[in-house]
């Protein structure tokens, strides 16, 4: 019975998007709204299974086959995948997308689902490689020379990371005779480090993910929304599983998470380019997601929603430069979505980010908690730049919340109510964090501008740093 259910889920989550992608490719379809039923089916199925509860895992193909896992964790990510795709599709309907975009979206959807339900190290390797190729094509769709360069950089770094992951898989197989994730506790720690590094390249986590600001900042805004909303999660979801299952990884991943949160925020506070700033926040939010491996998926769904909303809202702006936006002001119809998104990511109650942050802070303690509070305040500081952008005259508030905006907003509000963290102490805490952040913004950062060095974001440095990190992990565990 479970086998049959699994086949049904695989055909609905993976095969249907693939088939529709191939058919769109053959029929040269350009309208992404045709695919809305596919996304909706994913979201509805995931929502139903979340409400129903329960978990089971299945091996497809018998002996040495591929193991799939259907539990709350995977269904949460699948739900996020469906919701983000619905929102992005609703937002890009007016543009004429290039011909390749719609088939690629369908295939990306299917592959992301496959990553989230996979419980097999090698299957994750191949799915993430497919995700990498799709992202590579997506980044290039905008045609600017710089996008080609950032795509090439992305693929080279990602491929080196995947080679490390492959070697990690091999050592895992050698020790246990299986690729299933259940064997993770038994595999040697060096292999776990290789797996962690390989996944953190795709997940945009600290150091390994430094390709991210360039690629996400340069891509078209709808593409950036997909990159930050879904593609980054395809690295993070297996990483979370790894941290949950393997004791070695559960020590190393939270360290990476905190470093990632602090690093991303400290660059975002001083960046004047709105898309670059959002891209740096993807690094820092990856840290928030990974900080508590047991609850990361609950943060991930919120992050997927508000980050893709923010990227879409930022794409509508007349300029990317925050200084010039500050002088000219922005029209109300562009301002409102940005404002709400910025509040959500800062953790304002009723807007998605609050419940997620409360979950994370509820389970952290000690020094990591202190550092994460700093990162949360930093988030508020950097988003104060958006919150306090002046309104210019002549805007139309009615146009502000388009279909996609309403959709995202509804999801975020519902998400927060579902989290059930409306306790006075949590509300106070988050308000204090936001207040401190805004105070710092007015007192310090709005008056000073600091240029942090960005040398580490070049190709050779990222690749080299992968090995430095590996050595560091081996050294720490050896001591």
């Amino acid at each position: 019975m479970e086998e049959l259910m699994a086949i049904l889920f695989v055909s609905l989550l993976v095969m249907v998007p693939f088939f529709s992608g191939i058919l769109m490719l053959a029929g040269k379809g350009r309208d992404s709204r045709i695919l809305l039923p596919v996304w909706t089916a994913t979201a509805l199925l995931a929502g139903f299974m979340l409400v129903k509860g329960g978990a089971f895992h299945v091996v497809i193909g018998g002996l040495y086959g591929v193991e799939l896992m259907f539990d709350t964790f995977s269904w949460t990510f699948v739900l996020m995948n469906g919701l983000v795709f619905i929102g992005v599709t609703l937002s890009v309907k007016k543009e004429r997308l290039p011909f390749l975009a719609c088939p690629l979206m369908a295939m990306l959807h299917g592959t992301a689902n496959a990553v989230f339900i996979s419980y097999d190290l090698f299957n994750i390797f191949i799915c993430i490689d497919l995700i990498g190729i799709l992202a590579f094509l997506f980044i290039r769709l905008g045609k600017r020379p710089r996008q080609i360069w950032s795509a090439v950089q992305y693929l080279i770094v990602g491929n080196v990371g995947m080679i490390l992951y492959l070697v990690g898989c091999l050592y895992g197989y050698k020790a246990t005779g299986s690729f299933s994730m259940e064997t993770l506790p038994a595999i040697p720690s060096v292999a776990v480090y290789l797996l962690v590094i390989g996944l953190s390249v795709k997940g945009g986590v600290f150091l390994a993910g430094l390709w991210l600001p360039e690629a996400h900042g340069e891509a078209e805004s709808a593409v950036s929304a997909l990159l930050s909303g879904v593609i980054v999660k395809c690295g993070i979801a297996p990483l979370l599983r790894l941290a949950e299952l393997s004791p070695v990884a559960s020590e190393i991943v939270p360290v990476l998470a905190v470093a990632s949160a602090i690093y991303g925020v400290s660059y975002a506070v001083f960046d004047k380019d709105i898309k670059k700033m959002l891209a740096y926040h993807t690094i820092s939010q990856a840290g928030f997601i990974l900080a508590v491996p047991g609850a990361g998926h609950l943060y991930a769904i919120s992050h997927g929603l508000f980050k893709s909303w923010l990227f879409i809202a930022a794409g509508n702006l007349p300029s990317r430069d925050l200084e010039s936006l500050k002088q000219d002001g922005i029209k109300a119809e562009f301002w409102l979505p940005l404002f709400l998104g910025a509040l959500a990511i800062s953790g304002m109650p009723l807007l998605g980010g609050f419940g997620a942050k409360s979950i994370i802070f509820g389970q952290l303690s000690g020094f990591p908690a202190f550092l994460m509070y700093i990162a949360a305040i930093g988030t508020a500081v950097s988003f104060a730049k958006i919150v306090f952008l002046p309104l210019s005259a002549g805007g139309d508030l009615k146009k502000a919340l388009s279909l996609s905006g309403l959709f995202f907003l509804a999801c975020l509000v519902f998400r927060d109510i579902a989290a059930g963290y409306f306790v006075v102490s949590y509300i106070l805490k988050s308000l204090v964090i936001i207040g401190t952040g805004w105070a710092i913004y007015f007192l310090v950062t709005s008056r000073k501008s600091v240029h942090l060095p960005k040398g580490a974001e070049s190709l050779e440095h990222i690749i080299g740093l992968l090995f430095i990190m590996l050595l560091f992990m081996i050294g720490v565990s050896g001591l």
Partner: protein, 116 residues
């Protein structure tokens, strides 16, 4: 010295030579070839691990029990070869497209343009 250990050292050195190329070569095509060499090294490690000093995993008769190499790493690594090839083909197209805009394949010179 154990043959498998010796072979493994040599194959890891293939990966290292590839890495050296990725780090030091300036030409993007050379970087891609170096990456391919790294990939070849990783693939060879899989094949080496499947080698149990016995024959190929093709069985003549399903009723006689014979010891063979482990077919599982070999089968999964076929997949990885294809993936490596696909990535490479796509990268070559992109890199050549890049050269159309910059008239150079030197990574330092391309990166110089956005040194803000």
């Amino acid at each position: 010295m154990d043959i498998v250990f010796l072979a493994r050292l040599l194959l890891l050195s293939v990966i290292l030579i590839g890495l050296w190329g990725v780090l030091y070569k300036k030409n993007l095509i050379m970087k891609i070839i170096a990456m391919d060499i790294m990939n070849t090294g990783a693939i060879s490690l899989f094949v080496l691990s499947s080698w149990q000093r016995s024959r190929a995993p093709v069985i003549a008769d399903s009723t006689v029990k014979v010891a063979t190499s482990d077919p599982v790493p070999q089968a999964v690594i076929l997949t990885a070869i294809v993936v490596g090839f696909s990535v490479l083909a796509l990268l070559v197209v992109y890199v050549m497209d890049l050269s159309r805009y910059f008239h150079t394949l030197d990574t330092d010179r391309i990166q110089e343009r956005w040194k803000s």
